[in-house]
Symmetry: C2
Subunit: 524 residues, 2 copies
């Protein structure tokens, strides 16, 4: 299968539209064929209106059909074989093994949601039976379950061209919930988006689902995404990307006549703290772990560690020296897009204008259009408290170290931190017990707290939290990864005193789907 | 106990502040003693900062202590005895029986949340155990549970001076979650607020909880509430009241440097549809039910029915005549505040300026400062589609009827509807089956769908949904009533690879609290 420049508007392929653009070959910066066209206002309106028309029917199809859709998409992604991998690599310069792993993860996510639908208890059915004899007033029969929120606009991420793009976690969770999806594909990988969009559109059609169930629109202008978020039919937004992008969509959604929820995962500096005993016992090994995590795949992860802090003491010098050595030994590598490279360079310039020293940089030629240089920076605890910029993400293979002289500085640093996706603490023996206050403060800043590990590598499972307090995400109450990601796209609906035959089967007395429910306060 | 004009700032009583104001005696409009003072910027800042300082410690107290707090508040409200009831009646003119029932409901809510904490499974603990032997990468151990979001600003409602005010559903659910609360008391019932606030402050103190766990601030200016929502320490907002008020707070919260979630329940026109067989068989009885629900306690309920529609046919004339007769026989009664009366009159003026006829009005003297007249209005399906105002709430004892001539008009009417808290359908025999499309469309507009009943009377239970699509509420994914209301104030936190001793007990292998958890995908 070869990309030919297609949008899918309500399932139907269309080429053309507004201004053309191309993906870019990462090494030389040459445009890749075919040309893609900015989605027009009319295309956006048609996609959103079709999604609105599909919302009722799609939410009403049996969940087994939605599970079949998710599995068909996963099968289709696998069936694309090398054609898909080659296009991903061509557009993003991600290593082929990483692309293979990401495809496996993407298919795994789709199938996890299918399994969730098959099991069925995710609807959180709650039944409080009536009592007509209750005084002074009869008790009504109340039955509640989760239902689809309506059409979701999904904004693909540049750094996960499969797992957080056209058929990624946002799309999978929204389709699982029964929400039609309109994807605004990331302009860094339009060919990948088209190939995946073709798979989704074909699966929707083969299962006889409403045409508006899925659309894919291309575009690289902020106005295109803005127009999508402002469509009256759109009921929610899923986004993975930069703070500026997420905040802009959040503001647009909040300013609508009818505001809609936005779940934007906007990145994180993912601090790492190294406590004294661990520093003394295995500082060099920890430095290797941190550095490897920070430069992995050129730091193109939301969970890439960007900050490291510790207190001076035994092992501190060796730790710092090992970090320096690892960064000096790291090589220039490709970012997923030339705009990511320019954003990285701009961010490093911002930091270098503050009291920040460059401790080490990786080797290699920056000629490739997307090349980014591993960069180890260092600053002081006082500077961290003075310059908020230092607490925020630099997307790419950099690490800012904050050597402290006393524990109170670590505590003040944590108190100043904004929300992050993750924080990591290395500790041995009594380290954790002796830093209970620090751990408690850190816990309040993050979605995920890691002991003696690295933040990269986001396991897709029920217990995962990929999100966190602002600005890591727009709403800390939800996770973008794992089956609980479906909770972003559903709302509870309550039926009062309805005849059994008119209730959804999840709420009937005979519980034909045999799901777990809360009945009169007891889980059955 | 007598009100003396106190705020409670971080638990400590303070009088004074900005401009004075008084509650108003509803019959004559005379000011009630004592004077209350607008909270100052300094008071607001102190309350919010103390809440911020309390957030960590309060979230960390054992949940048994939080349960004890909720029960102590309920006990304290009961111990206030007649002093509380009399003040509520004096400030709101609500019937004494209604006040007694509302106090019982308020105490019941507090104790329901205490029971939820004692049982403990509400934290939604999820454990995915690690597998160090997994290839190509070891599987981490991931454990997640719900934790408090941080300080919640609660805005009391005028129409539920106990159940949705200082120690009402928002406060109870926030304290249960482990969130400190700063209440901005409703200026219509400051004495009630002070009495209840005294109970909460005393309970916080007696249990040795952080002083910032609870504050009560008085105020009647929008700027006071705005200043509270803009405090950096405030992490979420709970509001029950008008659309204008809720939208203003929502906009302020979204415009913050760090936006915070707002759950505002902003009212609803609560449409009632009467289907042909029910109309023919029992139209007059249904008319009586609807009218009684619409004028109950002068229509001072968010769930008061405000719209009724049906198709012409057997029983239609008798139904309309019965509605007319019931409204003509209804009496002028008191709103909960003079501003509610003026809002009601303004809304009726807005409707009368549109193609709306007055069909019947209740009798009685409008001399009391808060008197509102039951008013039955009628319009056409075409006017409903042309004038969006007609689809929205009129807060008070009015009902707008929309007699239709054909089912397609009903369907078009439902399609045009905004979000509502509730919708009610009366049907007999095959009515429901024959109107499946109508029911499906209506279901998508509401939080709660009622068969053959009335929307007033919100049962406090696990299956209740009190919320709905915009503009009924700012976020349809949550309910303001029932134990699930706690979900508004919590976020998931994930621990990765932590030693058992450092995990919250809800996440330890030995599960000392014996709560229900999801372990490796299986609920245990």
């Amino acid at each position: 299968m070869t990309p030919t420049g297609r949008h899918f508007v309500a399932g139907a392929a269309e080429t053309g539209g507004g201004a053309p653009f191309h993906a870019v070959e990462p090494t030389g910066g040459a445009p890749l064929v075919p040309a893609y066209h900015e989605a027009t206002a009319a295309q956006i309106e048609r996609a959103a209106a079709a999604a609105g028309a599909a919302a009722g029917p799609f939410a009403a199809v049996p969940s087994a059909t939605r599970a079949a859709l998710l599995r068909a998409i996963a099968d289709g992604l696998e069936a694309l074989g090398e054609a898909l991998s080659q296009r991903v690599v061509a557009e993003t310069a991600l290593p082929a093994e990483r692309v293979a792993a990401e495809r496996a993860r993407t298919c795994g996510q789709l199938r996890q949601f299918a399994a969730l639908l098959d099991e069925g208890s995710w609807v959180d059915a709650r039944i409080d039976r009536g009592d007509p004899a209750r005084r002074p007033v009869p008790k009504p029969d109340l039955r509640r379950m989760r239902m689809a929120l309506g059409p979701v606009a999904v904004f693909g991420a540049s750094n996960f061209p499969l797992a957080y793009s056209v058929a990624g976690g946002d799309t999978a969770s929204a389709l699982a919930a029964g929400c039609p999806v309109v994807v605004k594909g990331h302009p860094a990988h339009p060919g990948t988006s088209e190939l995946v969009g073709g798979v989704v559109a074909a699966a929707v059609q083969r299962l006889g689902l409403p045409a508006g169930t899925f659309s894919l629109l291309h575009g690289r202008l902020p106005a295109t995404g803005a127009a999508l978020v402002q469509q009256p039919a759109i009921a929610a937004v899923g986004f993975t990307g930069s703070y500026a992008g997420g905040r802009a969509l959040f503001d647009l959604a909040a300013a609508r006549p009818q505001p809609i929820p936005v779940f934007a995962e906007m990145g994180s500096a993912n601090p790492v703290l190294v406590l004294p005993r661990a520093l003394a016992a295995r500082g060099e090994r920890i430095a290797e772990q941190i550095a490897a995590s920070a430069v992995l795949a050129s730091g193109q992860f939301c969970t890439c560690p960007g900050l490291a802090a510790w207190c001076d003491g035994p092992g501190a010098a060796a730790f710092a020296a090992a970090l320096n050595a690892r960064f000096a030994a790291a090589a220039v590598g490709p970012a997923v897009h030339a705009t990511i490279r320019s954003g990285y360079e701009r961010a490093l310039d911002e930091l270098r204008a503050l009291p920040v020293a460059v401790a080490a940089t990786g080797a290699g030629d920056l000629a490739p259009a997307t090349g980014v240089r591993p960069t180890l920076l260092t600053t002081t605890p006082a500077a961290m408290l003075q310059h908020a910029r230092l607490l925020h993400e630099v997307f790419g293979p950099s690490l800012l170290t904050v050597p402290c002289t006393e524990p109170a500085q670590l505590l003040a640093l944590v108190a100043a931190m904004p929300g992050y996706l993750t924080a990591t603490v290395h500790g041995d023996g009594d380290d954790f017990a002796e830093h209970a206050e620090l751990l408690a403060a850190l816990r309040r800043k993050v979605g995920r707290l890691i002991a003696n590990g690295v933040p990269t590598g986001v396991e897709v499972c029920s217990a995962m939290v990929h999100g966190g307090p602002w600005p890591a995400a727009t709403d800390a109450r939800f996770s973008a990864v794992g089956v609980t990601a479906i909770e972003r796209w559903v709302r509870p609906v309550c039926w009062q005193d309805w005849p059994q035959a008119l209730l959804p089967e999840e709420l009937r007395d005979d519980n034909p789907r045999r799901i777990r429910r809360t009945v009169d306060g007891v889980v059955e």
